[in-house]
């Protein structure tokens, strides 16, 4: 799937592009290549780079930051070509996966690292710490902080020099699940308050949906699709996006025809868009996985295709013969 074939339905930036990525490419070896990728990001937009491990999303971020040099293509910010500008002069802020806080400096010196010596330096450190709700933490040692606090310090440190673009590498992957959701909302709030153009990398769909205004789905070094979360979910460009973003049942042949397809090609249906009915695709309930408000029913069709239906917990029993119909399908 080349980038040219990836559909950009609903994928255009809202306003004139601020960060332009044009046919950027990185060749690791003759069979491992990232790109060429072309992407425009609007001022103030939050873009998520979503993909499985090895998809090239971290390489993309490091190309943007300047830690890797591109083999082809061009990166521009506010119409300035920064492709050859070293990281130190790019004015892109970065939040690292493991935060990369300097252990020999305290919180305030970490946050002030990127600030020039000036009378208002302390005030700017205080302001940056206030932004992430860590006012009064300046003289703390880095290792005395909790994981969530370290994450916030690294965000404050990246934002303090007022960079043009903020980049985050799996910003929440080091936090425990309970903390992750709260931190995610705080992070979005801080980014929106500052209004900074943001690119972040994640391999979790929920995080991408929750934080990103738009999502770029990467797979094997290629850009599969760019779009708002609901566009990706409802109108995936291809089978990879359909199955990687959200749960998806894939139907072929007779089963596809029974659900309303034309019998050529592939039909994708989300579990919550299938329901038990009087007629439709026949099958047998093989498993029931109770998840509280509802249950997933694993169905085996007569031609031995397996698929999941999300329904009321008591909608069917294991071993029961059922018919399934679709309220909405995606034809690919």
């Amino acid at each position: 799937m080349g980038p040219t074939r990836a559909r950009h339905r609903g994928g255009g930036p809202l306003t004139a592009p601020f960060l332009e990525i044009q046919a950027i490419e990185k060749r690791w070896s003759h069979d491992v290549t990232v790109g060429p990728i072309t992407l425009d990001i609007a001022r103030g937009e939050i873009l998520a780079l979503l993909g499985p491990s090895g998809s090239g999303k971290t390489t993309m971020l490091r190309l943007l930051a300047g830690f890797e040099t591109a083999d082809a293509g061009r990166i521009a910010v506010a119409n300035e070509d920064v492709t050859a500008v070293p990281p130190a002069r790019r004015r892109f802020g970065m939040v690292f996966q493991h935060y990369a806080l300097f252990p020999h400096l305290d919180v305030g010196d970490n946050v002030g690292f990127g600030l020039p010596k000036s009378p208002d330096r302390d005030a700017r450190i205080t302001a940056a710490l206030g932004l992430v709700d860590l006012a009064g933490f300046a003289r703390r040692k880095v290792h005395e902080l909790s994981g969530g606090q370290q994450q916030r310090v690294s965000v404050a440190r990246a934002l303090a020099p007022e960079p043009r673009v903020l980049m985050l590498d799996e910003p929440l992957s080091n936090l425990d699940p309970a903390l992750r959701e709260r931190t995610r909302h705080e992070l979005r709030e801080v980014i929106k308050r500052v209004g900074i153009t943001t690119v972040f990398v994640t391999h979790e769909q929920e995080e991408a949906f929750d934080l990103g205004d738009r999502i770029a789905v990467l797979n094997q070094g290629r850009l599969e699709q760019v779009g708002a979360p609901d566009v990706l979910y409802e109108h995936p460009a291809n089978l990879f996006v359909a199955t990687f973003v959200g749960r998806a049942n894939v139907f072929r042949g007779n089963a596809a025809r029974a659900l309303g397809g034309n019998g050529k090609g592939i039909l994708v249906a989300r579990p919550e868009r299938l329901r038990f009915s009087e007629a439709g695709l026949p099958g047998v309930v093989r498993e029931r996985r109770y998840v509280g408000a509802a249950a997933f029913f694993l169905i085996e069709s007569d031609d031995h295709q397996h698929f999941e239906v999300l329904a009321e917990p008591d909608a069917a029993r294991v071993g029961q013969r059922v018919y399934v119909e679709a309220t909405r399908v995606i034809a690919l």
């Binding site: 790019r90 970065m94 990369a100 440190r157 990246a158």
Partner: protein, 542 residues
């Protein structure tokens, strides 16, 4: 990945510099040693073979003795808890960090025929003569065992600390009793540590010079034989001897390497080490504590004796058991007489200069090998480590031969006799110490810290001084302080290469001993010991 060419060029430059100081002199000596007359003399003389064989068996027995003392000590201190465990545990590691020459003369003053103990026994039993002579192979082995058990002690403790308690519990759950656990789990897991200690002990004993020089008497090992031959002016034979010693060292290293086994054993060790067990029975606990403290006193006694001797003025102590006069006369002379202060200053500046250069070269190597992953990285690492594998005498002779000729086209210059040769010799010996410390620190350094600095707008210099160096500091300080102390107390290279103008402390100690100025020699030893301890203390601070 396309690398910038500049780092490859820098790597080539560094490789050339390292090759020039580390391997080129050895090659020069190797080529010159292919002299048929000298080779014939070496092969024909039984004394040469005897010295070579003595070097080998002394080293092997030193390994056995050091293991016999060090391993049980390590188990005692790692697994059992008793009063004073922590303090003692670090005290008994002390001999390894003190200059060998200082340890040897301290030993001489304590156990030598006119030493403290011999005098005491002689007086108590009203003997005509000293009860023993501390000389020959036994004396050398005693000194070696006394100073080299520390390698086994430290390596075994480190290995035990890395053991995963879950692995021992698993063995027990599978029905293994204590003996089976020791034989089938603990010892195999410790093997890499033990082999490492054996290698270090073997190489140190093979290169040992001060103990055989002071205590050898007529008993010659290869290091003392080489220096004697060189002093007799028979350079071709000295070169053949040097090559023979180098071959023995490399052969020993290769044989020990083969027994090292898989690194997987080490890599698996990731877990919680067993906690030291408090000894329940009060009597046993007191026995362990008494043993531990007694041992510590025994091990520190030579250095205490050294301090005592340093306080006795010249000629004041003749036949008495305890010195009749004690004052600071020797120290006053040390610092007030220009001719005595000079060796101290010589040693200090030469050690400092060689350490600084060794640190700079190791930093460059760390950046090129770990960060840039240059093409020549294995060669650079090998060159940095090589001086560790060969006895110091080998390098001393190699430098003496290579840099006594003016041949600019061969990159040979006359440095022997100038102030540059000893710092150069110290530098070669310092490279493995700073190289190991800094490369290990570089490997542990998270590259994203440097990237974070860059993304915050810091240039190369600022990233180096504000982020990289502070993070490398522990490894750098440890390597630099070890290198400095080694150079400060060096005798092996100094005795071959010194001139009167540039004579270092070790040479001054030897000449003081020769004219029976024991007090001054001891005072020098104490100063050397204190400076070493101070530098190492600073270097080990986190």
């Amino acid at each position: 990945m396309i690398r910038p060419r500049r780092s490859e060029l820098a790597a080539a430059g560094l490789t050339l510099i390292l090759a020039w100081v580390v391997i080129y002199p050895i090659l020069v000596v190797g080529a010159a040693a292919a002299d048929t007359a000298a080779l014939g003399a070496f092969v024909m003389r039984p004394g040469e073979w005897a010295a070579l064989w003595a070097s080998v068996w002394i080293s092997l027995v030193s390994v056995v003795l050091a293991a016999a003392i060090g391993i049980p000590l390590a188990f005692l201190f790692e697994w059992f808890d008793f009063p004073g465990r922590k303090t003692l545990g670090s005290l008994i590691a002390l001999p390894v960090v003190l200059p060998p020459l200082v340890g040897v003369i301290a030993f001489l003053f304590l156990y030598g025929e006119s030493g403290f103990i011999a005098r005491a026994i002689q007086a108590a039993l009203h003997l005509e003569n000293a009860p023993w002579r501390l000389q020959g192979a036994a004396a050398i082995l005693l000194v070696h065992a006394y100073s080299m058990y520390v390698y086994f002690y430290l390596f075994t403790r480190a290995g035990l600390a890395k053991l995963d308690v879950a692995m021992l519990e698993a063995a027990q759950a599978l029905g293994a009793d204590r003996r089976a656990t020791l034989g089938r789990v603990i010892v195999p897991l410790l093997r890499p540590s033990l082999v490492g200690a054996a290698m270090l002990t073997f190489l140190t004993a093979l290169g040992s010079f001060s103990a055989p020089y002071i205590f050898g008497g007529g008993f010659r090992v290869m290091t003392t034989q080489i220096v004697a031959t060189k002093l007799n002016g028979d350079l071709p034979l000295a070169m053949v001897e040097t090559v023979a010693l180098a071959i023995v060292a490399v052969a020993g290293l290769l044989i020990l390497r083969r027994t090292e086994g898989d690194d997987i054993l080490v890599a698996l060790g990731k877990g919680i080490a067993p906690r030291p067990r408090p000894i329940r029975r009060a009597s046993v606990r007191w026995l362990a504590a008494t043993l531990g403290w007694g041992l510590a006193v025994l091990l520190l006694l030579p250095h205490l004796t050294l301090a005592l001797v340093s306080l006795v003025p010249y000629g004041a102590w003749t036949t008495e058991i305890l010195p009749p006069v004690v004052n600071f006369d020797n120290y006053r002379r040390l610092f007030s007489e220009a001719e005595r202060l000079r060796p101290m200053l010589n040693s200090l500046w030469m050690a400092a200069a060689s350490t600084v250069v060794a640190v700079v070269l190791a930093l460059a190597a760390g950046w090129l090998v770990v960060r840039q992953r240059v093409w020549l990285r294995r060669l650079i690492e090998g060159l940095l480590a090589l001086p560790w594998a060969l006895p110091g005498t080998v390098f001393a002779i190699a430098l003496a031969i290579t840099f006594s000729v003016h041949a600019p086209l061969q990159l040979r210059f006359v440095l022997v006799g100038t102030a540059a040769i000893l710092p150069l010799a110290y530098l070669v010996r310092a490279l493995p110490l700073t190289g190991r410390g800094i490369l290990a620190a570089y490997r542990q350094l998270d590259p994203s810290l440097e990237e974070a600095a860059a993304s915050l707008g810091a240039g190369r210099w600022r990233t180096l001084t504000r982020v990289t160096l502070p993070q490398l500091r522990p490894g750098l300080a440890a390597g630099a302080s070890l290198a400095f102390v080694a150079a400060l107390g060096d005798i092996v290279a100094s005795i071959v290469l010194y001139t009167y103008e540039t004579r270092p402390v070790s040479i001054e100690i030897l000449s003081s001993l020769r004219i029976a100025e024991t007090g001054v020699a001891a005072a020098f030893g104490v100063v050397l010991m204190l400076v070493s301890a101070l530098v190492l203390g600073v270097g080990a601070r986190r």
